[in-house]
């Protein structure tokens, strides 16, 4: 049995008086495809943001790929991680955002090559060759010279996925990546992710409201409510026979709102 690539141990996250995550613990195995579902404000996006070091935690420990994320060893004791340690840990993780967050002043190709050239010292030619391969994979090779403002939402999101992949992370975080898209553009992004799941052994964490996609994509589904994991299991169990009442209520509401399962 391999050891987990992510080990979240009793973490707490608060915004002022509001507790977003309340003593949360969970493990993710290497290569696992995880779907995090639940009502807005249940803390699922916060977990991704914490793993990407965009939010600090109030208490608890997180281990990524065998190393502490927010702490580092100094002699015998664990101390808060410094920027250098965080930078090292971030090389293991990539993230795709709901609103794409492409750099509007750079063309598609430069969006992708910027980070590999700056953070890994990859030569321009090599970075561009790899970027073109990734663009080809997401079906955007013909838009390499376009500016982000010229692209549709679905195209922007596919570029954003290629940009995150360019750093070859072991773990990819997808934060509601289709929520900001027009309905007819959702499928092209989901197709890219299906391909990615099929062709790589990357660990993937997905926060989504697309229950049908979560069902097909995930090895394991976690249902969150009020900062805790209420129920988890294989997608067929969670979606067909949810045990907890809160899960049942949530899924009923989602189906009533027109999402397919």
């Amino acid at each position: 049995m391999p050891s987990p690539i992510i080990r979240i141990d009793n973490i707490t996250k608060t915004y002022g008086p509001l507790t977003v995550l309340d003593g949360l613990s969970m493990d993710v195995m290497p290569g696992e495809k995880l779907a995090l579902i639940g009502p807005s404000g249940s803390g699922k996006t916060t977990i991704l943001r914490i793993l990407m070091t965009l939010e600090k935690i109030a208490a608890g420990h997180i281990e990524v790929d065998g190393e502490q994320l927010y702490h580092m060893r100094k002699g015998d004791s664990l101390v808060a991680a410094d920027e250098k340690h965080l930078q090292k840990m971030r090389t293991k993780i990539g993230m795709v955002f709901q609103h794409f967050n492409l750099f509007p002043h750079k063309c598609v190709l430069d969006n992708i090559t910027l980070a590999p050239m700056l953070t890994k010292g990859v030569a321009k030619a090599a970075a561009e060759a790899r970027a073109m391969k990734l663009l080809d994979m997401v079906g955007m090779a013909d838009k390499a010279q376009s500016m982000p403002a010229q692209l549709s939402g679905g195209q922007k999101q596919r570029v954003a996925i290629a940009r995150a992949l360019a750093l070859s992370p072991k773990i990819m975080l997808f934060d509601e990546v289709t929520s900001a898209l027009d309905p007819e553009l959702v499928e092209e992004v989901l197709n890219v992710m299906r391909r990615l799941a099929a062709e790589t052994d990357m660990t993937m964490l997905l926060v989504t409201h697309e229950m049908g996609f979560a069902h097909d994509f995930a090895d394991r589904v976690l249902f969150f409510d009020k900062g805790r994991i209420v129920e988890e299991g294989r997608p067929e169990d969670i979606f067909r026979n949810p045990r907890q009442e809160r899960t049942q209520t949530f899924l009923r509401k989602i189906i009533a709102a027109g999402h397919r399962v």
Binding site: R90, H105, C107, T119, A149
Partner: protein, 219 residues
């Protein structure tokens, strides 16, 4: 009948001094604007405090007083400047303080999501600023920088008070020598206006360049 060509030549010599002051003052103001503007965003409290003191002091006191200090008071501290050096220093520091707030405002106007994308791509603090934030903030700064440069141009007239022979100073000389008020003052009116026009045209050109691509039109 007055021979105007010599007098106009005098005013044009003054115009050169005014242009020189404007260019060098603007260069210093630009440097100070970025140093103090980014200083106000520093994670170190001491740097933020220093930048704030500079900005508030130079915005809060008159350019006349600043110029007099630089030219007449600094010598007591052992620093003696030529009128041109004093003029550039006072104008640059004064306008730079205004520019610093422009830099800070523009940098802060770039959304949090751009910073987060940089973190997710593991760019360092300097790399984020250099490659992502400043290139997007620059087009936001330019219109106000243009304003500031024109203000600086018009502010150069105060240096006549420390005996620098700028355009305004020369116009007064011509007026005293010829007794004509209309011609020297009409001449400098036109010259100031043409210089200001050159500045706004230049800034608009820079703005177009800096915005290239951002609105979906690939140049």
């Amino acid at each position: 009948m007055i021979d105007w060509s010599g007098y106009i030549g005098l005013i044009l010599q003054g115009a050169l001094v005014t242009i020189e002051l404007t260019l060098m003052g603007s260069a210093l103001a630009l440097v100070m604007a970025f140093v103090a503007g980014l200083g106000r965003l520093s994670r170190f409290a001491a740097v933020r405090a220093l930048a704030t003191v500079y900005i508030e002091f130079f915005r809060g006191t008159s350019i006349f007083v600043q110029l007099f200090w630089v030219y007449f008071v600094l010598p007591f501290a052992g620093i003696t400047l030529t009128p041109l050096q004093a003029g550039v220093l006072a104008l640059g520091l004064n306008v730079g303080a205004y520019g610093a707030e422009v830099v800070r405002g523009a940098v802060q106007a770039i959304g949090r999501e751009q910073h987060e994308a940089c973190v997710a791509l593991n760019l360092g603090r300097f790399q984020r600023m250099r490659h992502v934030i400043l290139p997007q903030a620059l087009p936001l700064m330019l219109p106000t920088f243009g304003n500031n440069a024109i203000e600086l141009l018009k502010g150069t007239a105060v240096v006549s008070l420390i005996s620098l022979t700028d355009m305004t100073f020369q116009a007064q000389v011509v007026r005293a020598q010829t007794g004509s008020t209309l011609i020297p003052f009409a001449t400098i009116l036109v010259l100031y206006f043409v210089m200001a026009l050159a500045i706004s045209t230049g800034v608009r050109w820079l703005e177009r360049r800096a915005r290239r691509g951002l609105d979906g039109v690939r140049a």
